[in-house]
């Protein structure tokens, strides 16, 4: 009888120990809960992100680490014509050269 009592007592101790251990280990688990994200506080004096800029006057700002400004070129009508050699030749008008000056200038 006494022996049975000891076994029960040991069983209870082991069970309690396991519960304590489980509770302790549960404190090390990743916290999967997270607070609700709040909007980042804004600073009205902070510079506008370069990516939002289209004005050339501000294009001096560089994207960090890239060494180049992030401003998108969009004037392709101008560019397409001024890079088209044949078209420029067709459209170009040679100015009349009139040099009436004499002697070293």
């Amino acid at each position: 009888m006494k022996k049975h009592y000891i076994n029960v007592r040991w069983s209870l101790l082991v069970a309690i120990g396991l519960l304590v251990l489980a509770a302790a280990l549960s404190g090390c688990a990743a916290d999967t809960t997270a607070p609700e994200l709040q909007p980042r506080p804004t600073d009205e004096n902070a510079p506008t992100p370069v990516a939002d800029l289209v004005e050339v006057s501000d294009s001096g700002m560089e994207m960090e680490g890239t060494g180049t400004p992030e401003v998108e070129f969009t004037d392709f009508a101008c560019l397409d014509c001024h890079t088209d050699e044949e078209q420029l030749k067709a459209l170009a008008v040679e100015p009349e050269k009139e040099n009436l000056s004499e002697g070293p200038g």
């Binding site: 050339v56 294009s59 400004p69 070129f73 420029l88 170009a92």
Partner: protein, 484 residues
């Protein structure tokens, strides 16, 4: 300079521009206005051909360290013309003269784009490298395209019978190797970056004397140089050009006019090659010399008569023989042949008879009297004693008198080279600077500069467009974005 066809002048090298130039991030219409549309007329309506015509508005946002100064530089304002012309006139004539200048002078002014994007408008314009911005403008297509009849001919050796400047022949130096960016842009480099750095010069020979020969030749000038002639003459008696330049272009009787269609033109009635030592009309602390080379400038008392009578009513308030810095420097010149070349010999001096010789006797008066030399200075009676004393001092100081000059030339076999070959430099100089006696004179401190410049100058000067562009890309960002 090769002619540029009309289409080439506006042809953008798409690949080069977008690969090399950070300006390609900027839309065309942002700088040039107009519209980004297919119709040519509509696209060009309101277009600004040269945004840098207003340097601060066109370039100043990104280049605040340069544009405001460039806008006030002599290259942009041409104030040097005003200074010279107005000094020969009275205030009541200035508005008329300003009107004249709007036809005959204004076309010469240089905007940022006139050197860094295109050839100057005054010489026809046209992109240098397909709209790629060129940090160091190519010398022959920009600098000497405008500064042609005098500087270019002298420096390149295009005046018949006279060699090019030794800095080109041996040093392969381009303009910017002496005339640095600060000077070109009207910046005083001695003023800190955060202060007003305006050079505030109203003429190229007013204000600081830049560039200075001694910047490179520090050890070869004046007392302590070990060069006998330099020891004797010191640093304040005469400018370096008095001994080390040769004949240069002088002009007279330039008259301006315009056609019924308002096309301006000019006529220079006479020009000639000559070398003249005169008294220094600008003598001051910066330019203390008693004697300098002087050049007859094209102006005539009737130069602007088409615009009004007697506009230059104070004609001789300013010398017509002006302080000059010929760009044809040589180690050996007729003046350096012996002491007697200059002392007691009127040949090289602007004596009164020279004015008569060139039909300019009417100009013998006013400010020219401060320039004309009555007679060449005689050799001092104690010259031999003086020379011996200086020699002894040099030797006592451990000098060898072999640094250059006539004495050294003799010591190094200069006798054999004392004829035309030595004077005209022969052909050997270009390829054998290390073996040439000139090195001892031009050497020392200059070598570093020359070596550096040989790398950078060749590209710029010899027009290696692509290479120049490639070189520029290394530090283009710093320069463009205004680093420092």
């Amino acid at each position: 300079m090769p002619p540029v066809e009309a289409w080439q002048k506006v042809f953008i090298d798409r690949e080069a521009y977008f690969e090399q130039d950070v300006h390609s991030y900027i839309n065309c219409t942002t700088c040039h206005a107009g519209q980004n549309v297919d119709d040519m007329d509509a696209a060009h309506e309101g277009m600004i051909a040269d945004p840098a015509a207003d340097p601060e508005a066109g370039c100043g946002d990104c280049h605040p360290d340069i544009a405001p100064y460039a806008a006030d530089s002599l290259h942009f304002t041409l104030q040097g013309y005003d200074t010279a012309i107005y000094q020969r006139s009275s205030p009541e004539n200035h508005p008329t003269l300003e009107h004249m200048e709007s036809y005959h002078c204004s076309a010469c002014h240089a905007t940022c784009g006139d050197c860094h994007v295109s050839q100057p408008n005054a010489v026809g314009g046209g992109f240098l490298e397909g709209h790629v911005f060129v940090q160091t403008p190519p010398m022959s297509r920009t600098c000497t395209a405008c500064h042609g009849s005098r500087v270019k001919n002298e420096y390149y050796g295009l005046n018949e019978g006279y060699p090019g400047d030794v800095h080109l022949r041996q040093g392969r130096m381009a303009c910017e190797d002496c005339h640095d960016g600060a000077q070109m842009h009207g910046i005083d480099p001695n003023i800190p970056l955060d202060e007003d750095r305006h050079l505030n010069a109203n003429h190229r020979y007013n204000g600081d004397r830049e560039p200075k020969c001694e910047s490179c030749h520090e050890d070869e000038i004046g007392v302590g140089s070990g060069i006998l002639e330099h020891e004797i003459h010191g640093t304040e008696l005469m400018s370096c050009q008095v001994c080390h330049s040769v004949s240069y272009t002088n002009c007279k009787n330039c008259h301006v006019d315009k056609t019924e269609d308002d096309v301006p033109f000019y006529t220079v009635e006479d020009h000639w090659l000559g070398f003249f030592i005169g008294r220094n009309p600008l003598q001051n602390n910066e330019r203390p010399y008693r004697y300098v080379t002087v050049r007859h400038v094209p102006v005539d008392i009737n130069s602007f008569d088409k615009y009004g009578d007697n506009l230059l009513d104070q004609f001789l308030s300013r010398p017509t023989w002006e302080y000059a810095t010929p760009h044809n420097i040589q180690r050996n010149t007729p003046q350096t042949e012996s002491c007697d070349s200059c002392h007691g010999n009127d040949e090289f001096f602007l004596t009164p008879d020279k004015l008569a010789q060139y039909g300019l006797d009417s100009e013998l008066g006013g400010a020219n009297l401060d320039v004309v030399v009555e007679h060449a200075p005689p050799l001092p009676e104690n010259a031999d004693e003086l020379v011996e004393r200086i020699k002894a001092r040099i030797e006592a100081e451990g000098g060898t008198l072999e640094g250059g000059g006539m004495e050294a030339e003799g010591a190094q076999g200069g006798e054999e080279l004392s004829g035309d070959e030595a004077f005209w430099g022969g052909g050997e100089e270009e390829n054998a600077p290390a073996e040439n006696a000139d090195e001892s004179f031009w050497g020392g401190g200059e070598e570093e500069n020359t070596d550096q410049s040989a790398e950078s100058a060749d590209d710029a000067f010899w027009g290696g467009g692509d290479e120049g562009g490639a070189d520029n890309t290394e530090n283009a960002d710093d320069a463009f974005w205004g680093g420092n």
